[in-house]
């Protein structure tokens, strides 16, 4: 393991973080708020940490898979560490635990917050908070790779280390092109949503920060009541559209932009994703009508926003789901576990894996009838390899084990069972709000300090798709290997 090479690549991530901190400090200056110095100093410290390895360590385009892997995971951890600085320097309500929780929640695009009154925070700090979503949504390394000139083999290794295994399966482009597609779609969607929200009457600052949070499927709002604050159905419709789009594989969106609209409807992952959301909305609407909302239009409006928000792992809110009936809670929990498509900014188990498991179950039933038959599993017209299926099953099992363990720890800390379970599901799926005391209109501020550390750890596990993190803990990862 060549640590100096790892340091050099982490330095790029640091430089990018510092750039956003400095932009945030400029915003702070524009709005004449008190966050200017905390943001500027954090930006400078982060930049100095980034500049030094870049100057000291010579450039290299050959890195090993293990180094690439360490770079990807370390970039997340280091970004979370330096990302805490503006919060720590700001002070109340950010203790070390709270600052860590808020930063991890931001970078992992979870959107769970410990801030009870977000509207008292200065604009600069709110912009930094939204930026952590935007940087984390695309993935720090992908962000870096999309801007830097071609890095040779290192780019391929880093791309493979950063992007989820399931998303990789569906990207049929070379690493360089895939990175540019991701960055292009991501940037394009953000710009489009910002313009659309401004046209709907949102202030420029709110439009940018909410676009950052939507496209990254994050969920941090600049308002205490989240999207409910705006009381504007047009804004809700715009956000709904962009939440749905952000939950679709970026390569599929790119196909549509390139004029291959049929690709979109041909994809059974997209079809399942949209159908599941529709069914979820129908069930919730029927459940809410009468008891919670007298008018059908209100039931449809709030059910669709909340189900899409949770089903894409965004976490914005227009209603307090904690007071909804238990059937609606179950639907919300299902979507918080499943979330959206791989290759998007969404978290959770992902639609692709759920669909794969469903197809594998059908395959097994068919095999019971025809034991010698060779029945391949197709996903978006591609045959799924056996190891992909095995990995998916293993992923879901480990995912659920982590959910169970985290719920257990939180319950032991005195958190009620519903809040502990839904909070964990929301954290590992990078969804944001849970149910109970951590509902859509509540915060995580009342969770005990150790609980916040457990939840931030599960957020990281979810964002790094579990195995990437655990791989770091294996001895084999640290053994000497030859460069790629």
């Amino acid at each position: 393991m060549r640590f100096h090479i790892v340091l050099r690549y982490i330095a790029f991530a640091l430089i990018f973080n510092s750039l956003f901190m400095i932009i945030s400090s400029i915003i702070s200056l524009i709005y004449s708020d008190d966050a200017f110095m905390p943001l500027l100093y954090s930006g400078l410290v982060t930049a100095l940490f980034g500049i030094f390895p870049l100057v000291f360590v010579p450039a290299t385009s050959t890195i090993t898979n293990k180094e690439g892997h360490l770079i990807a995971v370390s970039s997340w951890l280091v970004s979370c560490l330096v990302g805490m600085l503006p919060y720590l320097m700001w002070g109340d309500p950010f203790t070390i635990t709270n600052a860590w929780f808020e930063t991890v929640s931001g970078f992992t695009t979870t959107g769970s917050s410990i801030v009870s009154d977000v509207e008292v925070l200065p604009h600069g700090l709110l912009f930094w908070r939204a930026s952590t979503h935007w940087i984390g949504g695309i993935g720090i390394i992908i962000f870096v790779l999309s801007v830097l000139p071609f890095l040779g083999i290192a780019e391929i290794v880093l791309y493979r280390s950063e992007i989820s295994s399931m998303a990789r399966e569906n990207f049929h482009y070379r690493a360089g092109k895939a990175i540019r597609i991701i960055a292009g779609v991501y940037g394009g969607l953000t710009l489009l949503e910002t313009i659309a929200l401004i046209l709907c009457g949102m202030k420029i600052f709110d439009a940018i920060t909410h676009a950052f949070a939507t496209i990254a499927t994050g969920g941090f709002s600049t308002k205490n009541a989240s999207i409910a604050y705006f009381k504007n159905p047009t804004i809700e419709v715009v956000i709904i559209i962009f939440m749905i789009l952000s939950g679709i594989h970026f390569a599929t969106l790119f196909s549509v932009i390139s004029g291959h609209v049929r690709e979109f409807w041909k994809s059974n992952v997209v079809r399942y994703y949209l159908a599941a959301l529709l069914i979820g909305i129908i069930i919730t609407t029927l459940n809410l009508h009468g008891d919670k909302f007298i008018h059908w239009i209100d039931a449809i409006r709030y059910a669709s926003f909340q189900i899409i928000s949770i089903g894409t792992s965004t976490g914005f809110a227009t209603a307090d789901t904690a007071v909804w009936p238990s059937l609606s809670h179950l639907v919300i929990l299902y979507f918080a576990l499943q979330c959206a498509c791989s290759g998007s900014t969404s978290g959770g188990i992902k639609v692709d894996r759920i669909l794969l498991i469903g197809k594998a179950s059908l395959q097994n039933i068919k095999k019971l009838m025809h034991p010698d038959a060779v029945i391949p599993i197709h996903l978006d017209s591609h045959v799924v390899k056996e190891d992909v299926l095995t990995k998916s099953i293993l992923y879901i099992v480990v995912y659920l084990v982590i959910v169970f363990l985290s719920t257990l720890f939180l319950s032991a800390l005195g958190v009620d069972n519903l809040s502990a379970f839904s909070g964990t599901v929301a954290a590992i799926g990078n969804v944001g709000p849970g149910l109970g005391s951590v509902g859509s209109m509540a915060t995580f501020s009342q969770i005990p300090e150790p609980g916040k550390w457990i939840l931030s750890f599960t957020m990281l596990l979810g964002r790094l798709e579990i195995f990437a993190f655990f791989l770091l803990l294996t001895r084999a990862q640290w053994r000497k290997t030859v460069a790629y």
Partner: protein, 253 residues
């Protein structure tokens, strides 16, 4: 980039981190320092004036009771002293308006006090009012309570602002300390990274070069030390390599 620049850069970064943290801490401490007298001047003195006004108002109340009992000289003398004390403190409070809403509060006090004053400015001793406890409770006491409550509101307004300012000071003290803590931790981490890189890119190659020279000296093993960087060590290694080749060829001759 040369070794000299790289090492200098390392120290410069360390110095810069500490320097910025120091400057910021001094700035924050300085603003805390200037906030304390400001808070005392703006709020504490208004609170003090408010308390003095309440005290003089209570003295006036006692003086009115004396007049009701027919004690003309003592009552009038006490009223005059208390009134001048009230006016003095009111003028001070009026010249020290610093909080939004304070002006309105003082205007209310002024109008209420004037109506209160009109009640006792007219003669009491030797009139029907003398000894009339009903008149006292129906007119004087209510007016007295009304002025007192507006004075208490003024004190509360200043109290709240003082509390807010004290909370802000607490925040600012955190901001004065945090850069220092961050700078110290960052400097420690940076020193570790700096040490690691200097060790890897400077000390390591020097040890390798020394070992290779030794081997060359002992059994003429060809000098071959690959240096990743294009700095002084790279040129030194090349020069030594050339020298060894030269010495080797001289030996063969």
């Amino acid at each position: 980039m040369g070794l000299r620049f790289k090492i200098l850069l390392g120290f410069l970064i360390l110095a810069l981190m500490l320097f910025i943290a120091g400057v910021w801490s001094i700035y924050e401490l300085n603003s805390i320092g200037s906030s304390v007298p400001k808070m005392l001047n703006e709020n504490y003195q208004s609170i003090h004036a408010g308390k003095k006004m309440i005290e003089s108002l209570e003295r006036e109340d006692s003086a009115i009771l004396m007049l009701l009992l027919g004690k003309w000289d003592e009552g009038r003398s006490l009223l005059q002293t208390a009134d001048s004390l009230f006016n003095k403190n009111f003028e001070f409070a009026y010249s020290n308006i610093t909080i939004p809403g304070e002006q309105n509060q003082l205007d209310t006090i002024k109008s209420r006090y004037e109506s209160y004053k009109t009640l006792w400015q007219r003669p009491i001793v030797g009139t029907q009012k003398e000894g009339s406890i009903e008149w006292y409770f129906q007119s004087i006491h209510n007016s007295f309570l009304s002025v007192k409550s507006s004075l208490e509101d003024l004190i509360e307004l200043n109290d709240k602002t003082m509390y807010q300012m004290a909370s802000n000071l607490d925040k600012r003290s955190n901001r004065a300390i945090m850069p220092g803590i961050v700078a110290v931790i960052s400097a420690l981490v940076f020193t570790l990274i700096f040490n690691f890189l200097v060790n890897y890119f400077v000390v390591g190659p020097i040890i390798k070069i020394t070992g290779r020279i030794k081997k060359f000296k002992e059994n003429r093993t060809p000098f071959d030390v690959p240096i990743e960087t294009r700095d002084e060590l790279f040129y030194l290694s090349n020069e030594i390599s050339d020298l060894c080749t030269l010495v080797g060829s001289k030996d063969r001759e």
